[in-house]
Symmetry: C2
Subunit: 206 residues, 2 copies
């Protein structure tokens, strides 16, 4: 049976307190290394050394290098999802939805700018199909959250249509963030603003 939370990527769940702390140290070491040089330059031996752990222990919990990155990715995703759920929870009418969505974009962009690890992971610098699947599932989940609020306030209430559009809007939001952090700051800001206007028009239209 698979666990559904972030530990799903683990080879073996640490049951004792000591090993739980060790796994946490491994993830912290990995985070630090990704901050310094990106996940591509992160070496498994270095992760083990920084965590004060043998290479064997590392592989006892993480089946491969990608699993570490995936675990971190799912943590960030879970945080983001919670943030989106909270932002959309109290939405009662279209105007509220538009304001909430606009605020979420700004928040997300701020996080993207501030979190080098998140940037690295989602910048396409990972040759890992499993990571793309995680990305896709995340967009779907976020799309569902948006669709839920959207359907509550839409005039024209075609469910499938709105769910699909919500999925697209969320996916393109991520794409815009990736694009924005690849160019100089001022242009990135303007691109995000353009996307936001476009997305709001799309939402307000239904």
């Amino acid at each position: 049976m698979e666990k559904t939370d972030e530990t799903g990527a683990l080879r073996r769940a640490p049951s004792q307190k000591r090993s739980q702390e060790r796994v946490e140290r491994m993830l912290q070491a990995a985070t630090a290394l990704i901050e310094e040089g990106g996940s591509d330059a992160m070496r498994m031996g270095e992760v083990a050394e920084r965590a004060g752990v043998s290479i064997g222990s590392l592989y006892q919990y993480f089946p491969d290098k990608g699993a570490i990155v995936r675990t971190l990715a799912e943590r960030y995703n879970a945080e983001g999802r919670a943030c989106i759920a909270e932002g959309l929870a109290g939405v009662r009418d279209m105007d509220g939805l538009l304001r909430a969505f606009g605020g979420l974009i700004d928040t997300y962009y701020g996080i993207f700018l501030a979190e080098p690890v998140m940037r690295d992971i989602w910048s396409g610098t990972q040759a890992d199909k499993a990571l793309r699947d995680i990305d896709l599932r995340d967009s779907r989940a976020n799309g569902e959250l948006l669709a839920e609020a959207w359907q509550r306030v839409a005039r024209n209430n075609d469910g499938d249509d709105i769910r699909r559009k919500a999925f697209l809007v969320m996916s393109l939001g991520e794409a815009t963030m990736r694009l924005a952090i690849s160019v100089e700051r001022a242009e990135g800001d303007a691109l995000v603003a353009d996307y936001k206007a476009m997305a709001l028009r799309e939402i307000g239209n239904a």
Copy 2:
């Protein structure tokens, strides 16, 4: 002095006819291998073997594995750019632009569906910063082409604004394609249609 065409990624330009043909065979072998298992599973030794060439010859022309992928990517990009330039060349009014752009999206989507190598390269499965730069430059160039036509027919003619929006529209177009080929066909088609409607509204708005 750098060459500006696709051979810019080469370590040494083949000047004799024999070596030109060999380089072409290397690229063909690489294409076949990517079609079979993706660029990640492509082995340099296998490329050399299939091309009927030694591993040393391969590295005489391509500085590293990524350079082969990059060379192929730039070929596809050049084709796409030519297609876009042609499609937008005769645009005289807003209505013509909207029709031309819509047609280009369909064409591009068709190519994406039909070309496994292009799909593989642009599916984010490449741990290569240089490839992301190529992607970015391609979107910029395509954005310039769109902006040129757009400015000709726009009522509100703010140059920088239109150029940036054209860049965004093109980038999100690529992102939509990537998304569309990651889901089942029917949903992908619908997503592309949604994007198209959104982009056309954005263009018609300026």
